[in-house]
């Protein structure tokens, strides 16, 4: 099955299913929503073609089309993909994370250290940083922002947006004008990465005026004040967001290799929710650059001379988590057989786009601590899958579906409609499993299934989660936290499993690598908790626009972007 064919049929299906329901108002809305939503997912892979085109030109306006729109201007509640991409350009982070090595370098903080327990982090800040209203960025700014992010402010209608991301946050102490100490009640190894993070749950520093504004006032551009290279000037919800350059910006992270203010005068983010219209607007020249390009459009756009900027979405690879509390996925041989029947290298060869990658671990390739299992536990071997099931006593029944002690090998799984190729790969895995006597029923849009029902009825649950840190495994799979594999309370050796996960919190950098490997060994070799399918990507396409930059969390930074003279 070729990619193009699949796309055509997916589109046709979409059109057909939208046809009949004119009066079912909400039903229609829901259906439309699912149709139109194809296409926001995380991504990665080294940029193709960025950086060409001679010396940068200063000035100009960039019209940039994308799928979503910031739901608010407040960077602290911008948890949506578009929201985080917008706010990434009006705020700065304490640290900068290298997108390839995952290493940290100075940004707003010049120095950072932590105690041995990882419960106390001390940052020394740059002294020349100002907010766009002229006020100084200092240790008090860090404290006020972290406090409000964690606690919220009921009087202003600000919710505790950062509560679940800051974890065991205790307090921030202002040690000096430009020295600040952040304390936690328990070890928190991932805080360093969070202080450089630009995706969901990122820490954004806002001026006092913003912190004192109510939730409602934070919808007005003049009240949203950060330290970033751009400031927001116009906001028309769901239509347009405009940011303009700050001429006195001079604290770009050294690692980006860009000094001084940004090149562009102005960026206009335009929301075009329908994917084919977005690509059409690009092709007709209505917009020079667009984001949220579907993997299926990559080939066409490249052929038409567009430059693509694409990266793998760092974090948890897209795939299934097994439900260890439900029969028959509580049988490890069934889980091993499913993993062996998933043809990951085959997907990369025949189904995926250039920007998407073969899954080699539960982590994507770029996340520090990643270990490659493609030749080991994740090797594709359909014969092995069959043998595993035979040996475990799962015998083919009259209808070809295997069974054991009266239990049929029939599974329920969820899919992912936001990433179009997820459907294709899940269907391929489904077909491969069918051929060895395993029946899988997939619900492709799982968004309306309540969490309880998911754990009570589904053997295979789709997961795809961004965060350029091994901590993502801890939050998602640790039986005492996310428990994504639904490990039962009486599971043998549960305490040791929890301990192995918890250990991730207690080390940073090189010291964390062996702990990260231990957790991945546990996930893939010992317990078989997930069946990764592939690594998703984020893609931007442009003509005459240079240096579109996707950072370590795959969010856009427009500091270095410029447009050819007009």
């Amino acid at each position: 099955m070729s990619t193009d064919l699949t796309v055509t049929s997916a589109r046709a299906g979409a059109l057909l299913s939208s046809a009949p329901s004119r009066r079912g108002f909400l039903a229609l809305a829901g259906a439309t929503a699912s149709l139109l939503l194809i296409g926001c997912g995380p991504d990665g892979e080294p940029a193709v073609g960025a950086g060409s085109g001679g010396a940068p030109v200063k000035g100009g306006t960039l019209k940039f089309a994308w799928l979503g729109a910031p739901e608010s201007l407040d960077p602290q509640i911008n948890s949506s993909f578009a929201g985080a991409n917008f706010s990434n350009n009006i705020v700065d982070r304490l640290l900068f994370q290298d997108r390839d090595s995952g290493e940290f370098s100075p940004w707003l903080a010049t120095k950072w250290e932590h105690n041995d327990d990882l419960t106390e982090y001390t940052f020394t800040l740059r002294e020349d940083v100002t907010f766009s209203d002229g006020t100084k960025f200092n240790a008090t700014s860090v404290k006020n922002n972290l406090d409000q992010f964690f606690h919220g402010d009921e009087a202003l209608g600000i919710l505790p947006n950062g509560k679940s991301y800051l974890g065991p946050y205790k307090e921030t102490e202002v040690v000096g004008d430009y020295v600040v100490k952040v304390r936690f009640t328990a070890p928190n190894a991932s805080f360093l990465q969070l202080s450089a993070h630009s995706g969901t749950g990122n820490i954004s520093f806002l001026a006092d005026k913003t912190l004192k504004s109510s939730a409602e006032d934070r919808l007005k551009p003049e009240n949203v004040i950060g330290t970033g290279p751009f400031t927001v000037t116009e906001y028309e919800p769901k239509v347009r967001t405009v940011i303009v350059r700050r001429d006195d910006y001079k604290w770009a992270p050294a690692a980006l290799g860009h000094e001084g203010p940004a090149y562009l005068d102005k960026i206009e983010f335009i929301t075009i929710p329908e994917a084919s219209v977005r690509v059409g607007a690009l092709q007709s020249g209505d917009v020079p650059a667009a984001f949220d390009i579907l993997p299926t459009d990559e080939k066409v756009l490249t052929a038409q001379g567009f430059e693509l900027t694409a990266r793998i979405n760092p974090g948890f690879t897209l795939g299934w988590q097994f439900n260890l509390s439900l029969a028959p996925t509580n049988d490890i041989n069934v889980r091993r057989a499913i993993v062996a029947a998933t043809d990951r290298p085959g997907f990369k060869k025949t189904l995926l786009s250039d920007s998407e990658g073969e899954a080699r671990s539960v982590l994507t390739d770029g996340v520090p601590g990643f270990v490659d299992y493609s030749q080991g536990a994740l090797k594709y071997d359909l014969d092995l899958a069959k043998k595993l099931l035979d040996d475990a006593g799962w015998q083919p029944g009259a209808d070809g579906i295997r069974e054991k002690d009266g239990v049929k090998l029939k599974l329920k799984g969820t899919g992912n409609i936001l990433v179009p190729d997820a459907r294709v790969t899940y269907e391929a895995t489904q077909a491969a499993l069918k051929s060895i006597g395993v029946d899988v029923e997939i619900v492709f849009d799982p968004r309306n299934i309540p969490a309880e029902q998911l754990t009570a009825e589904y053997h295979l649950a789709n997961i795809n989660r961004g965060r350029n840190d091994v901590a993502v495994l801890n939050t998602q799979l640790n039986p005492d936290r996310g428990n994504g594999a639904v490990i039962p309370a009486d599971f043998p050796d549960r305490a040791r499993i929890v301990k192995t996960f918890d250990a991730l919190d207690t080390a940073i950098g090189a010291a964390q690598a062996p702990l990260a490997k231990a957790v991945q060994d546990l996930i893939h070799e010992e317990l078989v908790l997930v069946d990764p399918q592939f690594q998703t990507s984020q893609v931007a396409a442009a003509k005459g626009v240079h240096n579109i930059y996707l950072d370590a969390a795959d969010r856009l930074i427009f500091l270095d972007t410029w447009v050819s003279g007009t």
């Binding site: 046809a19 004119r22 809305a29 739901e71 239509v239 059409g280 969490a451």
Partner: protein
Amino acid sequence: MLTYALLKLGRALIVVWGAFTASFILLYLMPASPIELLFPPNERASIDPQAFKEMERAYGFDRPTWEQYLDRLLAGLHGDFGTSVGTGKPVIEAIGEALPNTVILAAAALVLASLFALSVAWVATYLESAWLRNLISSVPPLLVSFPSFLLGLIIIKIFSFQLGWFPPISGDGLRGLVLPAAALAIPVSGPIAQLLLRNFQTEYSSPYVLTSYSKGLRKGQVLNTEVLRNASLPALTQGGIIVGELLAGAVITETIFSRAGIGRLTEEAVRAQDVPVVQGIVMLVAVCFVTVNFIVDVSYPLVDPRLKAIPKGVTA
């Protein structure tokens, strides 16, 4: 007449209250807490239960159901449907911002649709040639069955991307309104045209048409002066349904043409399961339906004198 209007008004209020109650039961009493829907299902399990409780309390979802119902009903009477879970903006404000765009779009589409439907019905009745008449009569069913999603994409592809006559992203201004209004009008005009066509044919075979001919009028004059008026009246009763079709069509049209309006608001609220916004929209739609039907009911006896003769009891 006053009793009649009051009866209709009372019934309208009951419908609105019913819609509020039904939407409350359906939306707020769903097995999943609306707060649960704030988090991606993937991440739900890793949210700190304490943080979850605080969020629930902040939105008032932790109180007993009947208390929430009474509070929300009382607030709803003042036009307050709470704040959007997604954006933190009051629902009434979000609707207020979106409504003008949709009203303009729907009004333009309604004018286009009515003109088109009327032309189809008029021409199909006027023509003498049976096969031509049948050909034109088959246009409305075609429009009804054509997927409006596909239609919008085809229109934008041809007139924006290929011919470049109109912008693909409809911002302000009349030029940006043409394509979305046409895309919305075409499917809506189908049912109106079907109804008018039928009425034209029924009226045209009525005895009074023979009388008009015998007075020496020509076919065009008969259609314009006699048939048109009598055939259009029943179309009025379709008002509520047409409003519903326009609003439902706006969901698709506004998405394809990147317009911010009630349709997009609906699509996004349903997608994000932003319960307060969904309920606000349900109430808006209910009020629209009821208002249109009320106006139609009340004005009908004024337009058609025969209805005044109907005994009061029958209308209640």
